[in-house]
Symmetry: C2
């Protein structure tokens, strides 16, 4: 990466770190590599991120937030709650499957980062179940869903569909028949949700 003379910002460091991770993988990506990519000394990187772990955590958070953001539009709409729920899970599954299938090495890299940063992952899951809670609450309000505790139900929906969004199942996402399994699970939980 060509050293530019722009100010060194956290954003530029994150960009460079993603590139270094893409190139070298999680095991060999070093802070020195990131500094070299930016044309600065590694001491400068430590001015913006206290440790290598903090830098990797920030990269992980950015990656997860991109998924959350793309789903929030579906959750926030005012369409039929059941259709929104179906679309939301389909969008989540499709997004994850493409991330895993299109660039397996990069996905493997992010799986390592996710393993290192469980606090960030927990926040991400709280964010996603929050979106689900919105949909469930809306459905209950309109009388099309039944739920004594929307947040608990939202979490149950998220857990029940884990096979189609949890990275630990990524290898199954290319298997034939996975679509059928997805439809069967979504159908089952939607039936369980209807008023």
């Amino acid at each position: 990466m060509a050293p530019t003379s722009e100010t060194l910002t956290a954003a530029r460091i994150l960009e460079a770190t993603e590139e270094v991770l893409r190139r070298h993988g999680p095991a060999k990506a070093t802070v020195v590599d990131v500094a070299r990519a930016l044309g600065v000394s590694h001491g400068s990187v430590y001015r913006h991120f206290r440790t290598k772990a903090a830098l990797r955590e920030a990269v992980t958070e950015r990656w997860l937030d991109r998924t959350s953001a793309s789903l929030s539009g579906i959750a926030a709409g005012d369409r039929d709650p059941e259709a929104r729920l179906r679309d939301w899970f389909t969008a989540l599954f499709t997004a994850k499957r493409h991330k895993a299938g299109d660039d397996p090495e990069l996905f493997a890299t992010y799986m390592v980062l996710i393993g290192e940063n469980s606090a960030v992952v927990d926040r991400h899951i709280a964010d996603l179940t929050g979106q689900l809670t919105e949909i469930v609450q809306d459905g209950v309000g309109r009388g099309v869903f039944t739920s004594a505790a929307p947040a608990t139900t939202a979490r149950a929906l998220f857990d029940a569909t884990g096979r189609f969004h949890d990275p630990c199942y990524a290898r199954d996402w290319e298997q034939p028949g996975i679509e059928t399994e997805f439809d069967a699970v979504v159908e089952l939980v939607l039936r369980g949700l209807r008023a």
Copy 2:
């Protein structure tokens, strides 16, 4: 382990292999260790198992079969299908949680073995979903469940409850609140199953 003068059988080798795995862990357990534990030369072990991988596969299969066997009793009963389903999942979750919690090191060992032997795992899952299919079919026959394709529904039930039996979630099984999450998911899918 004291060398006995009994005949060397596959069963005795499997027993010794489990012990060696328990003691040394999956990375350091060698065929030579197993032979030493039995007081024979390692060549003798190769008379009963073609390769080290075949030996580890047999150990893995035995371990998984113990779980299947303990559940088949619940599946085969003639009690209320909904109660049987609830009990079956509870028994599966409880068994897995104890295996993981009571001896974490041994459980980690078996997680490595499971990763090495996906064919055995696939057979195990087919076995468990087969038991679920029995219960679903029985429920449909009695008019308490609805399912167009019991085998597909059984698989959906298994997938939807993955968080409470798939080893990749083992670290969550000690978390407070996991019982509540389990109940929420089981309730949700049972509601979806009722006629």
